[in-house]
Amino acid sequence: MDGTSPAGRVSLSSRAIERTLGALAAEELGVPADTSGVRLHDAGGRLGVAVTAPVALGRGRTVLAAAEAAQRRVLADGPTLTGAQISTARIRVTGLHDAEPRRVR
């Protein structure tokens, strides 16, 4: 239309952003990506992120340290991956994830 940008519009669905950030947090917590849940909200024009996920057992660090690592990861890599400015990331650990496969009895 104006010749400076191609016709059409590119938009990123919030679902895609949610899954990306959820996967980041899950990776840091040592759990599968599909165990994490993410909610996005507005924080003064920037993005507020709230992640709920379990944490993997036995990695030689406390649950709190793992959660903080996940928070830092979302804040650091989230913007580079999604292009969104993220102002806050809340991580809520909802349980313990047992990574060992269960023995069949």
Binding site: D2, R9, S11, S14, L40, G44, G45, R46, A84, Q85
Partner: protein, 187 residues
Amino acid sequence: MNERMRSRYGRRMRHRSRSVAVSIALWIAALPLVYLAVEAVLELVGAPALWQAPLQVVETVTGTEALRFGVAAAAVVIGLVLLVLAFAPGRLGRHELADERMLVVVDDDVLAGALSRAAASTAGVERDRASTSLGRRKADVSLRPTSGFAVSREDVDRATERELERLAVRPSVRARSRIEQAGVVGR
């Protein structure tokens, strides 16, 4: 169509017609005159007054306090209304677009929609996140960004200015945009 005709017709379509006000004013002026004429003729031929003799009417009005003030107040109100109708520009919220062959007059709603669309598409947001209020000389565009994706005000300003330039709106309009603080989480 020459330039003079064009600007005359454009003016006509952008302003309210005064014909209704004029015809009401003429009726208000004509009725008392007709009444006076009828009563004068009746008086001349010696017939009884149809309603009341004009002098008697004047006496009744000036004699009664309430009636006197009522009539005076009504006259003031009607006078003021007519003055406003006569001198107010009576603009209709429309603008002209430049066109070589035709006179194009659009409602301001349409123009505001065009500006909103230009702003929204520049910012990469849904069309309903931009709104524009348009006056005769200026347009205020406000835009709600997607959370996390900052919108440059300069870009939006440039896009709306370009749109106005493209349409060559008359009277010319200056657009000013505002990016709202709070965003909306995209869908």
